[in-house]
């Protein structure tokens, strides 16, 4: 498994894991209070910091096993895969933005708009990482 794929796994697990945990907390708090929880800035900041730490620690861990590959530039095939991931991520961002606008128009709620945008950001980033993993295992570009 190349460093690029290991890196994609680290990013995907960290992003989806922490994103899922945050939204899980959100759902739990909303159920408890009976109303949609408003965005909690300290919790969001904590989440971002934890994400950064998880990514750094994860990359250090995978780089230890192959430092030469970790420092090498992407080759032509890896750059192709990365471009595909970026293209798919852009499509997710576009669709997510439009859906977020629809959510706001339908609800008039800035809170719903915030969560819709946050969710689409998480999914668009995750799609980029999952694309890398997919094309690695599929083989053919």
């Amino acid at each position: 498994m190349s460093f690029q794929v290991r890196s994609a796994w680290v990013m995907a697990i960290a992003t989806l894991g922490l994103g899922g945990y945050y939204f899980g907390l959100l759902i739990g708090i909303s159920r408890h209070t009976g109303a949609l929880a408003t965005p909690d800035v300290p919790l969001l900041v904590t989440g971002v910091v934890l994400l950064i730490i998880a990514v750094i620690v994860g990359h250090i861990a995978i780089a230890i096993f192959n430092p030469k590959e970790a420092n090498a530039a992407l080759d032509e095939r890896e750059r192709d895969i990365e471009r595909r991931g970026i293209a798919l991520s852009a499509q997710f961002s576009w669709v997510g933005s439009v859906l977020s606008l629809v959510v706001y128009l339908a609800t008039g709620s800035g809170v719903w708009l915030f969560y819709a945008i946050l969710g689409s950001l998480i999914l668009s980033q995750a799609s980029s990482y999952l694309t890398t993993i997919y094309y690695h295992y599929r083989g053919t570009l």
């Binding site: 190349s2 590959e69 080759d75 032509e76 095939r77 083989g139 053919t140």
Partner: protein, 76 residues
Amino acid sequence: MPARLPIGNRVKQLREAQNGMTQSELGEAIGVTRQTVAAIEQRRYSPSLETAFRIAKVFNTPIDSVFYWDEGASST
């Protein structure tokens, strides 16, 4: 199952004939990863023209002795 690419190659045979050159060694010589060399040999990836010429140069053989058009392969 992904379709086989229409460009065939003899990279693996030529590599092994070079005193048992490894995929990593070939990758280092042409500027790609071991995984990309493996993908080329398994016809899961068609290298760029530049990389194809580099491979031919490593084996000191004409490029059309390394790569060939496979009429029988299905393509997407």
